[in-house]
């Protein structure tokens, strides 16, 4: 009967047969051989054996874990582990049965259009445009984007001045909503994938407006006129407001915002339709995101609050509420005054959950996640 597992004794008898040694001395030798390997390993030394391979120790760092039964946090101590790297000779000999096989490069499906399929359903109704028309449309679009940018930068600079002069609460709020509205519009040059989440989110509530939007889409000429009108209205609205800066009318602000959202949505689907037909990438990307990143984030609206319980963490809350754990930093920022250290939050404390624009917590947009991580890193380096 063939035994599958060889012991030290079996190995020694094979060796004794081969070299015509006595069984005892062969056994002694094999024992000594492995003992000295062990000894050297315990002294944290690498043991190299010709034609066999290298034995060495690798250090596994201590790590935190959770007791499966009790749910308590435990620490697994760091420990050494023996790693064996077979010598090339051994490797080749052992792999003889498969030695003739070579890695094969697999031909693959076309990679040139990888991301289009992720688009939202709103983009499905494309405008029937000839190439010439769409080029013109694109040019008009770029122009419009430039306009919006200049308005936006104006708003930004004025914002800075106003905040130093006067900080009435109502004024600030209006500015913010306006910026948000403009941001909604500014989302147009971004790729459709990034856009699908925010725009749909914002418009979901407004069934009526959505239907009217659909009718708008049918005539592109009407649409451009409307878009321009909206821009002008927005600009005048803002300037009027900054002149008589205490008179704020929240309901109308809300209405414009929704209109803008809807408009932005239709612009978006236009953009993608145009980009599709001309196969041109949209121009300046992710301006609204950048704006959000650069601004001092102030959280005035909240979607709820959470009472900290044992074992709960900011990351877990973030994962539940915003879809990814990286966005915990925003919860922290909104509760900065209450949390001295995000790693140590006392149990029973109530945390407010800030309302975040959907495009900021877009899990599918790597920029969002990256920025949140970057914020967290910054905080860490500040703390240490």
């Amino acid at each position: 009967m063939i035994k599958d597992k060889l012991t030290l004794t079996d190995l020694a008898s094979l060796l004794a047969d081969k070299l015509e040694l006595s069984q005892k001395s062969a056994e002694d030798f094999v024992k000594l051989f492995f003992d000295s390997i062990e000894e050297n390993l315990l002294a944290n030394d690498v043991v190299k054996i010709k034609n066999l391979g290298n034995f060495k120790l690798s250090w596994n760092e201590a790590r935190k874990s959770v007791d499966v039964n009790t749910g308590d946090e435990i620490v697994i101590d760091g420990y050494y582990k023996v790693v064996f790297t077979p010598d090339a000779v051994l490797k080749d000999q052992v792999n003889q049965p498969f030695a003739h096989l070579e890695p094969v490069v697999v031909s693959q499906p076309d990679l040139s259009s990888p991301k289009k399929s992720v688009a939202s359903p709103t983009v499905n109704n494309k405008l029937p445009e000839t190439p010439e028309e769409s080029v013109a449309g694109l040019a008009a679009l770029n122009k419009q984007a430039d306009e919006i940018k200049s308005i936006l930068s104006e708003i930004n600079s004025m914002n800075g001045q106003e905040e130093t002069i006067k900080e009435t609460n109502s004024d600030k709020k209006v500015n913010e909503t306006l910026i948000e509205a403009v941001q909604e519009e500014m989302t147009e040059p971004r790729s459709e994938e990034e856009l699908s989440a925010p725009t749909t989110d914002d418009v979901v509530v407004e069934d009526k407006l959505v239907t009217s939007k659909k009718t708008k889409k049918k005539s592109s000429g009407w649409f451009w006129v409307l878009a321009l009108l909206a821009l002008i209205a927005l600009a005048t609205y803002y300037f009027k407001d900054s002149l008589f800066d205490s008179l704020s009318t929240p309901p109308s602000v809300a209405v414009t915002q929704q209109e803008e959202a809807v408009l932005a949505d239709s612009i978006v689907s236009d953009t993608t339709a145009v980009a599709d037909s001309v196969a041109l990438a949209p121009a300046a990307p992710v301006d609204s995101l950048q704006l959000w990143f650069d601004s001092d984030r102030v959280y005035n609206e909240f979607i709820g609050s959470v009472k900290m319980s044992n074992g709960n963490r900011l990351t877990l809350i973030s994962l539940e509420k915003y879809g990814a754990k990286e966005f915990w930093i925003y919860i922290y920022e909104a509760n900065k005054d209450k949390i001295p250290n995000p790693d140590l939050i006392s149990i029973g404390q109530t945390l407010k959950l800030p309302k975040l624009p959907a495009y900021v917590i877009d899990v599918n947009n790597p920029k969002c996640v990256e920025f949140a991580k970057h914020l967290a890193d910054e905080l860490k380096s500040k703390g240490s």
Partner: protein
Amino acid sequence: MTYKELVDSLSVKMNVSSNESDEIIQALVKEIQNQLTDGKTIGIQGFGSLELKKKEERLSVHPATQVRTLIPPKLVVNFKQSTLFKAKLKDISK
């Protein structure tokens, strides 16, 4: 520890010349190789075991170039330390 040091230390302990020691070690290594190639497992009490494992074929995708490559199956030698050895290693980590 290099191979030479191992040969020397064994030659001292076994009271043989280093040439003989080298020969014996190479014979032993050859034997281990052959047994592993036959698909047998070598288990040394208190040290660990050497075993042949089959790695299944797999499809790898180059992260940068997106080139998909079919990696053929292969046989590799796997070393697993014994629990006794593990306990000893735990002691030195403290």
